[in-house]
Every structure is written in structure tokens, then in C-alpha cells.
Symmetry: C2
Subunit: 504 residues, 2 copies
């Protein structure tokens, strides 16, 4: 195949099936037929079929008090086109441990109310467009993953909004759920839409633009993290706010989880990045303390557990390998960028940025510590990493801190074996991951590192026994998964190290 042909194929990582991306991008008849088959129903277009959008579409397809016709839209690219096909073929493009996903999807299939497309023609049918596309931060990292700067490129986001504006009805509600720099709905989304409407000779006073951020948690409570959870929202004007509220009330269980309306969209946009910055900063805060604990022969876990007994201190964090996922690794930067670039401040959010820097370096600290335990060289060591996901009990590799740790080990000349019960294929690194712990534990390792806190590694007698059967080596628990009893029993033959604890 030539490169050109390659580019036109989109492969499903779920089924392995290849889809050829059409040369002529026209799905008008498909869209029109879908809408026509749901007469009288409002059409909700969900823009972006990623971790948030595809499942948001599912929740809207299973709305509580209204029947919608849902169109999911994404780009006809190798990375995304398969999702469109998959939805239309009856295979949901996301695998999750939440049984509600399958339940909701089967329900949508029987109602035939969830269609997917790449064609912007869909926006012309929409009563509501829910924006769930990504807005990324480009980090510039130097040696050792030191953050040297970052850039927020709004161009792809603006282009996506412009696609709505070029097609939408004049009174559509555009509800942004994407985590955006504070100020975006008011200063970017609304002006783009108004300009498009003006160019199309349409009035601009009927369009509604709001912001309501999701708090989606992939995993066993995936659906509930959308449908059964608190929501904060705002509109760029009064009628936008009312339209957002009306819509959210039909899909979210607002009787149990009341909506919170804020004064303006700057506030909701700030709330989202602030809550993630709060968490990122609290993780960063523990980095230096866990190192101090190591120096002082203190078990930081027992200290933190003692402190957590105070209700005012319940949210103090524990140490770990690092911070991963799509949000905590970038949201403080989005906010800082907005402060300077959308509100003209001369000051950045320095502490919040620093939190990101510190967290980004955590895997490096873990690596350096491990190296220091081996006279400064890990050359030729056989290393087993238990866990690739950044999150316990979930298969999510986005910005996982295991990546930085892995790269350091690789550069140091280690032979690395990966295990994760939830991940078969590590997309970002293009590596296959074993899910067979039994088989892996027949191998012999110099170093075994617990890199994710999956419950599969907790109180696992088999794992413990297999490690004990190995010749001596280093067991490095970067999460604090091992109990004191387990550490004691391992210590007979192995050197056991736990991050944030002194000599064991």
C-alpha cells in the first residue's frame, strides 16, 4: 500500500476491522433519512466522539424526560472515522467496565436514535449542538521531560465552531462541554457563530451559547458520572442559560443532583479548570513531602491517614508515580494561558503552572530513585511494570505517568515487560501489553515495579507467591499498594521500596 492509501484507512482497535475513508465526503442522504425517521423529535448533534462525546450521546439517547434524535459527528480521519462506522454498525466504540454502557447502547439501538456521521450537514438539522471536542495544550519539554513552555493552539477548536456556524439554524443552542480557557464561550465561540450567521444573512440575536462542563470519569461509573452527578452551567446571556437548563434537566437526574447556575460562562469555565488545578496542585504538594518522609524514615501513608481523620483535611493526597489523564496534566495551563491571553493580565497563574511542572517530573523522580538503588545504572536490567493506565481499575493510557517512567527505563537500557489487566494495546507507544499475569510471573525479573494501583495487584496472594519464588531482586511500589505484612514477607529475599516511605 502506498502512504496515500494508508491514510485512507481507519482501523478499529476494538475489532481490528479496517474502514476505507470515502473520497467524496457526502452523507446528506444518510443524515436526512435519519432525521426523517424521527419526526417531531429535537435533534441533538454531539460534536466529537471521544471519551466524553460518544458517551454523552448515549446519555442523551437515553434522556430521562424527552426523546431526542442524536447525531454524533467526528472527523473522517484514520483516528476517528472508525468510530462513526462502528456506531452505525451497532458496535459502541468504547469499552468500559460500566455495565450501563452496554445497556444504554442496546436501548439506543432498539430505538435507532443514535446516528453517526462526518458530514457538517448534520448541524443544519440540530436544535442543540453539544461540543465535546478536545482542546489541547502543546507542552514543550526539554531533557528529562522538564516543562520549558507550552502553547494553546485554538485553531482546531475555532475551526470546529466555524463548522457549526456555517450550517446551523439561527436559533440553535450551542452547549460547550469542552474544557476551555476561561473566556472562550463569550470571547471566541459566540463571536465566531455570530459572524457566520451574519455572513449567511441571518440574524444573530436568536443564537444561544452556553457552557456546562462534564465531570466524566471513565470506569465502572462512566454513565453515572454524566447522568447522576452535579452540573454547573451558565449562558452567554439569559436566554442561553435558560435553554441550557431546560436541556440539562431532560438528561441529568437533577432531582438528586441539583444544577448550579453561575453568573456567566467565564465562571463555569473557570470552575472546571480551577477544580482540576486544585487537584493537580494538591498532588504536586505531596511530592516534596513524600521525599522528606523518605529522608526522615517516616511512612507518609500512616501520616496522611492520620491527618485525613480531620474533616477539614480529608482531601490531602497520597504520593504516587505521577499524574496522568487528559485534564490534570493541562487544565492549569489552559487557565494560566487564558489569564494572560484572553484577559490581558501580565501575571500567569504561577503556582498552578508550577504544579503541572512538578507533576510532570514525578516519573523521573521515581526512575532516579530506582537508579540510585542500583549504583546509578539500570543497564540490562529486566523490569516488569505492573500497570500502564494512569487510573486504577480503568484502561486509560492518555498522558499516563507510566510513559515517562517507561521511556527513562528504555533509555537506561532496560528490558521492559508490561502488564495491565485493562489494556491490550498501548496506543501512544504503539506497544502490545500483556494481560496474562500468570504467564508473565513465570519470567525472571531484576526489578518489579507496581506502576498503577489496580485492585488486581492488591492483596493478590498469587502475585506475592510468584514474586517470592523469584531469586532476589528489587520490588518497587510506586503507589503504596503493598501492605506491611506483604512487604515483610517479601523482604526476606527482595529489597522492597515504597515511594514516600523511609527504609523498610
Amino acid at each position: 500500500m502506498t502512504t496515500d492509501t494508508l491514510k485512507r484507512i481507519s482501523r478499529s482497535p476494538l475489532t481490528g476491522k479496517d474502514y476505507e475513508i470515502p473520497t467524496i465526503l457526502d452523507d446528506k442522504s444518510g443524515i436526512d433519512a435519519f432525521v426523517a425517521s424521527h419526526p417531531g423529535k429535537k435533534v441533538v448533534v454531539v460534536q466529537g466522539l471521544g471519551f466524553v462525546g460518544s458517551v454523552m450521546g448515549l446519555v442523551v439517547a437515553n434522556a430521562l424526560t424527552e426523546e431526542y434524535a442524536i447525531i454524533g459527528i467526528d472527523l473522517p480521519t484514520p483516528a476517528s472515522y472508525w468510530k462513526i462506522c462502528s456506531i452505525n454498525e451497532g458496535v459502541f466504540p468504547i469499552v468500559a467496565s460500566d455495565p450501563k454502557i452496554e445497556l444504554y447502547y442496546q436501548n439506543a439501538l432498539s430505538k435507532k436514535n443514535y446516528y453517526a456521521t462526518y458530514d457538517s450537514h448534520a448541524y443544519s438539522k440540530a436544535d442543540i449542538v453539544v461540543v465535546d471536542i478536545n482542546l489541547d495544550v502543546q507542552k514543550k519539554t526539554g531533557l528529562n521531560r522538564e516543562l520549558e513552555g507550552y502553547n494553546v493552539d485554538l485553531a482546531p477548536f475555532k475551526k470546529a465552531i466555524a463548522a457549526i456556524g456555517a450550517n446551523c439554524k439561527e436559533d440553535v443552542l450551542v452547549l460547550v462541554e469542552t474544557t476551555v480557557p476561561p473566556g472562550t464561550a463569550q470571547k471566541i465561540v459566540r463571536p465566531i457563530l455570530e459572524e457566520s450567521l451574519t455572513q449567511r444573512g441571518l440574524p444573530t440575536d436568536k443564537i444561544k451559547v452556553g457552557h456546562s462542563y462534564e465531570r466524566v470519569m471513565p470506569g465502572p461509573k462512566y454513565i453515572d458520572s454524566i447522568q447522576n452527578f452535579y452540573r454547573v452551567f451558565a449562558g452567554t446571556d439569559e436566554k442561553s442559560a435558560e435553554a441550557v437548563e431546560t436541556f440539562l434537566r431532560t438528561v441529568i437526574r437533577t432531582d438528586e443532583y441539583p444544577l448550579t447556575r453561575l453568573g456567566n460562562t467565564n465562571a463555569t469555565e473557570m470552575a472546571k479548570v480551577l477544580e482540576n488545578s486544585f487537584r493537580a496542585m494538591n498532588i504536586a504538594f505531596m511530592v516534596e513531602w513524600s521525599r522528606f518522609a523518605e529522608e526522615a524514615g517516616v511512612d507518609i501513608y500512616e501520616v496522611v491517614n492520620a491527618i485525613r481523620m480531620r474533616p477539614t483535611h480529608k482531601n490531602i493526597m497520597l504520593p504516587g508515580l505521577g499524574v496522568g489523564g487528559y485534564c490534570l496534566t493541562k487544565d492549569p495551563l489552559l487557565a494560566s494561558w487564558a489569564r494572560m491571553n484572553l484577559f490581558g493580565s501580565e501575571e500567569k497563574l504561577g503556582q498552578s503552572e508550577r504544579g503541572v511542572h512538578i507533576n510532570d517530573k514525578m516519573p523521573l523522580y521515581a526512575f532516579e530513585y530506582l537508579q540510585s538503588q542500583h549504583n546509578g545504572s539500570l543497564q540490562g536490567k529486566k523490569v516488569l511494570l505492573l500497570g500502564v493506565s494512569y487510573l486504577n481499575d480503568v484502561g486509560d493510557t492518555r498522558y499516563t505517568p507510566v510513559e515517562g517512567f517507561y521511556e527513562q527505563l528504555e533509555a537506561a537500557g532496560c528490558e521492559i515487560v508490561l502488564h495491565d489487566p485493562h489494556i491490550k494495546y498501548w496506543e501512544e507507544k504503539d506497544i502490545w501489553v500483556s494481560q496474562d499475569l500468570e504467564e508473565l510471573m513465570n519470567g525472571v525479573y531484576d526489578i518489579i515495579v507496581i506502576t498503577t494501583g489496580h485492585k488486581d495487584y492488591r492483596n493478590n496472594a498469587f502475585l506475592l507467591e510468584k514474586i517470592k519464588q523469584q531469586a532476589s531482586g528489587v520490588v518497587y511500589d510506586t503507589i503504596g499498594v503493598l501492605t506491611n505484612e506483604e512487604i515483610k514477607s517479601l523482604s526476606e529475599k527482595h529489597t522492597v521500596k515504597v515511594i514516600g516511605r523511609g527504609d523498610l
Copy 2:
């Protein structure tokens, strides 16, 4: 009076009574008589009669399951001698809104089991010494209160421990409650005591040294914050830990608030400074966000309240005038100092130190903001400050952020009037404070600043009415006490500013 005579007087700020400090410091007969009048009872000496020690003495005098004879000890200095006299005369040296204080004190008076002295002879009678003296950090501040450095001078603390060692029984339990640099009990207290015992020809293997930090909160739950609250403890060896536990069980309601024993005293010492650093850092974190909120026209209070609905984010802080009190303003520095000076680390706790710096500058930000609202000059402005205490509904001026704010206003040429319902006399500034809001509100002010969140200022219709009766001026709420309705009604004549909110 000559200076010499002046120095020998200690005046009670409660009663105004003067006590002459004796030239010959000998209270042996008093101590011996007290102990003799409580035969068979264990003697507990509480070292330090400040905010913690005096009330700890009271709690021990009202122990749950044992009858102790308590001797409070402090220095025969102008600042402290009156406390000794006051206790022996039947006037408790601390005024607090907690009714249990008076109840417990009357009970101690009827049992005659709480004696006070300055004479180190008391240590020779002690079965248990509870160390509740201060351990201060000397901050070096430059222009505008910028923290330029700090110093931890352990000399007074070491001297106090040496006084115990020079007199104590060989098997005494020394329980340190003072917030100390991690490492202190093991590396400083125990060696000093062992050396003293050796010099006195006594064995060193019977002495017991432990650490258990207090979480005392002056105010309406003063007693409960000692007796009905979680405690963390550790010993420098096994028998020390056991002795501490036995003692704490007799004074603390451990059935409802179970004790937590940690692995070593480094851990308990670290837990205390870590929990305060956590809080200080979380306050500092909000400083830049509340300024960003001002810039973006966002009400940070509604944002934070929305975020707090998430259980994982309940402890996110609100903005304010600054941080005060004895703990949060210094504990992160104690920890950082210990890391470098007691554990030889080359790294300080940089983020935690930075949190202290930022918090120290908060009153300056508030002042600068006020100044910027007056074309850069506050010369000749008449300013009413509502609140001097650093804590709501409590009269505690230690390191109150109002001090820095007051000094800035003073230097800017303002005429300042102070009100606080809980403070008559501001010791640190040697100023009398009015408690008569009615009278004060007959005055005319250019600027009224809410500097403490006392409930007296919340939903106070009288205060609101009186402000409205004033000619125009600025009302600056640095705490977020005013409701939206109050702000609206004031805004007719006044410019109302609230810290962490955009234009109102």
C-alpha cells in the same frame, strides 16, 4: 518608676492588676505543700501557660479516669508571671467563649488540683511533664513584608528541656505537644534529657519521651478541641509510646475519638506541620485564582461553592485578607528547616515555603487594591476596620493579617478606627480597640473595610443601615461577608468591592 522597677512588674491584661516579680525565685515550699496535699496522686507538670498549656492543664485537672495533681509552670517574666499569680488567685488567665472553660476551672478550684509556679523544682515532683511552650520562627521581612528569609532558633526550647533534665525523676514521661521541627523529640529532646541524667549520675534507660500534637482551637469549642478530638502520638521507644497512650487515655475521650499511634516521633512531628502546611498551601493557591476572578469578572465565591459540591473538592478554600494565627504562618518553615538542618537534605520544602510567602503578602495585595481604587493615594482617608482578630468569632490577634493591612494604611497616611467585638486591647500593636459598633457608626468614614468574618458583621441590619446613612464612600469586603442583596442595597451610594469578585 525606674526601668529596673518597671521590669519587675507583670500586669494582668484581664484585671489590670500589677504583680511584682520576686527577686528571690524560690517556690519550693509552695510546690511541696501542693504536692503533699494530694497524696497518692500522679503529678503532671504542664510547661508553658499559653493558649495551649493553660487549657491543657485544665483538661488534665478534669481528667476522665484519673485524679492528677497539676502544676503549671511558666517564666517569671512581665509577659508571663501574672498568669502564675492569676491561677493561684482563682482567676483563669484566658477568656474564651467556651463555657466549659469556666466550668472546668471552677471544678479545679474546688478540688484545688491546679497550682502554678515559676520554680523548676516542680519538675522534681513530676510523673509526667507536658511540654506546651512555643517554638518560634524568626522571619526576616523586607519592604512590603516580603519574606527574605527566616531562622529557627532552638535555644529557648532547648533551655526549657534542659530545665526538665536538671530536675526530673529518672523515669519521668516527657510528652512534647509543642509543634516542633520533625526530628526534635528523637534528635534534640531525648539527647538533652539523657545528658542531664548522666551528669546527675542517674541511669538514662528509664526516661520516656513522646510526642503528641495538640489541635487546639481557641473559641467556642476550646476544651473540646483537646478533650473531644482525634490525637496522633508516638514514642521515642516502645515504653515511651505506651506511657503516652496510657496518659492520653485518661484525659481524652478516646472511645469516641480513637488515638492513632504512628511508627516514630518523626512521623507525628511531620504530621502536625504537614497538616498545617496543607492548609496554608491551599489558601495560598487561591490567591492567584481570586485575582484572576477579579480580572475575568467572575465571582469566586459562587465558583468555589459549586466546586465544593464534589466530595473530593470539599476542602477548597475561599479568598480572604490573609492568614493569621500561630501555626499556619510558621509551620511550613519549621518543616523545611528541619529537612535541611536535622536531616541534612540539600532541598528545602520549596512549595510549602512559597505558600507562606504568598500568604504573608495577602494583606499587601488587599491594600494595593484599595489604593488603586483611590488613584494611588489613601492620604488622609478615614478608615474603619471591622475586625482585628485573625479568626472569626474569636479574639485572637497573634499574627493577624489585619496587622500588615493596618500598617500599610498607617504608612499611607490614613486615620484608622478599629472595631472588634472580641478584642479590647491589641497587644502586638499596643492599641485599644472599640467594641461599640453603635457608637463607631456615628462617625463618618471614607472607607469601611470588613477585615474579619465575625458573625457580628454578617446579616447585620443595623450595620447596613448605618453604612447607608453615610455619605458616599468605599465599602471593601475582604472576607466575602456581604450577601448579594446587601451589596446591591449599599451600591446605591457606595462603591462596594469584594475580594475575589469582579466589578459589582
